[in-house]
Amino acid sequence: MTDFVNNRAGGAQVGRNVTKIDAFKLARGEPVYTDDVHPAGMLWAKVLGSPHAHARILDVDASRALALPGVVDVAWHRQVKPILHTRAGQSHPEPSPYDTVIMPDKARHMGDRVAIVVAETLAIAEQALGLIDVKYEVLPALTDMDEALARTDVLVHEVADPRGIAEGGRSNVAARIDKQVGDVSAALKTCDHVVERTYWLPRVQASHIEPHVAISWLDEDGRLVVRTSTQVPFHLRRILARILELKEADIRVVKPRVGGGFGDKQEMVMEDIVALMTLRTKRPVRLEFTRTEELTSARCRHPQRIVMTTGVMNDGTIIANRMNVTADTGAYGSHALTVQGNTGQKVLPMYPCANIHFQVTCLYTNNPISGAFRGYGAPQGCFALESHIDEVAKVLGMDRLELRKKNHIRLGDTDPLSAKLGEGREGLSRVIRSTGLETAIEMGCDAIGWTRKRPPSAPHLRRGLGMALAMQGSGIAGVDWGAATVKLNEDGSVNLAVGATDIGQGSDTVLAQMCAQELGISYEKVRVLSSDTDLTPFDVGAYASSTTYVSGGAVVKAAQQMRDQLAGVFAEKWACPAGDVVFGDDNVSCGPDKAMTMAELATHALYAAKMQPAATASHMSNESPPPFAAQFADVEVDPETGEVFLRRFVSAVDCGTPIHPGMAEGQIEGAVSQAIGYALFEEVIVDRAGKVKNPNFLDYKIASALDMPEMVTILVPTMEPSGPYGVKAAGEVPIDGPAPAIVNAICDAVGARLCRIPATPERVWRQIKEAGE
């Protein structure tokens, strides 16, 4: 195990709310995002999306478009070499099926790529789309998971994944999982009660406010530069090299400031398009999605149907749990295996028992593409499990809090599933070495008033409380890793280069704090350069909540190495033992009379000792310690209209030792706001023909300031031995619990169990009617 020896230098740079290092320039609106700087001679790209959910693209005639003045190029499948790949943006070897080419000869969802136009202005590019004549052979559209499973005469993918993940050519199954610990069927026969329910999860979209946007050009050496709003610059470089048949050495991916990603920017949604068009035209090319394209052609959270079967004894002991997931990956298999794997892996261990069975069937359909979205499968699983626990408690006539307390995972417990399920292959087993779950439950109960439910605020309303527990991971054990380089300058400042991707969550700031902590300097002395594949060391990118835990580990190691170098230089100059050199408050010293400032030491190193203090370190963890959350909702329901008024929401979260408590809270509050939408109103509605009925913010509602309840956020610090300074991840776990907590509260208020979210007024109203009948 790779425990961190926290022999940190003096001063308190971590654990405090320092000023986020990029915040002022963002608040001033300075040109720091991808689209804010346009290279000279830039062309504007637009994608011609398919009007059919499933159709062969027989022929494309672009002559009328090319005749329009200002149109520079049009590309479609006959002109682009089809190299199978996945756009999922994962580590090599990728666990998602290779089912994608840059320009497909068959459209698999409405909006799928048919042709790309580049023109001198956006208006001309848009106009040109209407001048492209396409011959389609329209095929039957599969938009229902069960139909997709049943039919083999209509196949979304006719070619099998070369690595055997998806069953292209034979069926519409994109991924299957069937893992068992113990023997659930046998165990269920011995239980006092068996409770089975089915839960349905909607398709929702990340809806980062900055859409996907990318600009590419050829630099003066003819190398391809892609400046893009991405979470995974290094994966992108690797994938682009392969599918464009370039050397990785000839590609540079630069990530400027990013206006939110939430997983949706882990995917290569458009970088291949701009790169292709730059290679074809030798000119800079820019592409930005409209909100409608975001909602039809970016990625969604996988819709799922989950059947939960739980066997319990009269005293509340859970004996067996089965989770059977049917999921819709849409037109392509991005993250089909791994998201669904997480649905069980990150969720079922909450209530360890000897018999656990986890099954997944993930289907291709002609619906919009599913993919990575904050929580990565866990919000779906958590909704099912935590709704189900309330149902089990009801069957037992037991208090739902007591049932949870009796069964939840504890310090020292082994998570039974993680060894069976890694990132699409055998994973590593996981023992809980830090948990604040008990404290979180206690503090959360107190903050919501669990035992003091308030009366309704009006006679026609009903009040209810609900809760949910959640756990997640901190990076992918044994897979995610990152590197950092530190270098000292003569004024005592430090350049920190990291591959880690700050997408707004503030990782640049947190990593600067950690670096400063190790060197005993102020974080303001650290200049962070992140995510430029030419200039920074490798990192897998910002996903799986890995940045602070994994990339932070690399920063700490690199800083420690450089500190050792500096101790050596100091010891030589002052003739003292290197082991006695102390760093802190921008000073280096050994005893009361041997001291110099960091700047003096740096100047000495560079000009007298003639050495560059610098270090690069890599870090990978074989563990993925779970952060925990206990979340509570206080709602009022109008039983006649089905309206739900969320009054108060409490999150008590154990994310280890927070490096920047304010930003950790911000992660929680933001996650909760997204999850409130998941619970109450967000849904990308797709009709039977595969058309998105609400492809804009007029109709796809995300939470506004007026939708937010009174929010209480409690950090429950723990010391995780495998994390630098005891950190775990904070970004994902708080998005899991709100939906079940809210729905459990609705049930508490009106006695109606919503097995399907979002809990729109109509759904709540209908469920109340049904419960009454």
Partner: protein, 170 residues
């Protein structure tokens, strides 16, 4: 068509298509400098990333015709650099960790600036609901609005205190 506006206090002449939105002219060019604080998030008037002031009132520039600004004053964050109220708001947002990805921040700041200016003129202090109402057109996917509202509340309280002190001095 030719459009004459007062942009951030300076007269400018734009050449724009008759169907152009104010957002596209401010952000996409070809006129330089591009106002990069004015962001594109939805183009349906819902997200508020493109909020600017038109004659001192907040508008979502993606649903306002560029031609509508002809003969009027348009103010963006760039034009409020150094304004004491805007500076205070920016500092408050930053110090409250209310800026995550920051893509919504300029739009939020324009809305809050307008609210607090209006309240100051009326001698009132906005409460939680008034602040949320003012922010309701600025969608933020990162923060859950908790810290932005707290930041605005803090600035409003400071303004109220200053107002009381000034009244006391008089």
């Amino acid at each position: 068509m030719k459009i004459v506006v007062k942009l951030n206090g300076r007269n400018r002449e734009w050449e724009a298509a008759p169907g152009a939105t104010l957002l596209s002219v401010l952000r996409d060019g070809p006129q330089e400098p591009r106002m990069t604080s004015v962001k594109r998030g939805c183009e349906t008037g819902d997200c508020g990333a493109c909020t600017v002031l038109l004659d001192g009132q907040p508008v979502n520039s993606c649903v306002v015709a560029a031609a509508r600004a002809h003969g009027h004053a348009v103010t963006t964050i760039e034009g409020l650099a150094g304004d004491p109220l805007m500076t205070a708001l920016q500092a408050a947002l930053v110090e409250h960790a209310a800026v995550q990805c920051g893509y919504c921040s300029p739009g939020m700041l324009v809305s809050l600036y307008h609210l607090l200016k209006e309240c100051r003129a009326a001698g009132t202090t906005p409460g939680d609901h008034a602040i949320r109402e003012a922010l309701s057109g600025n969608l933020c996917r990162c923060t859950g609005y908790v810290k932005p509202v707290a930041a605005a509340t803090a600035v409003a309280a400071t303004l109220a205190a200053v107002g009381r002190a000034e009244a006391g001095a008089r």
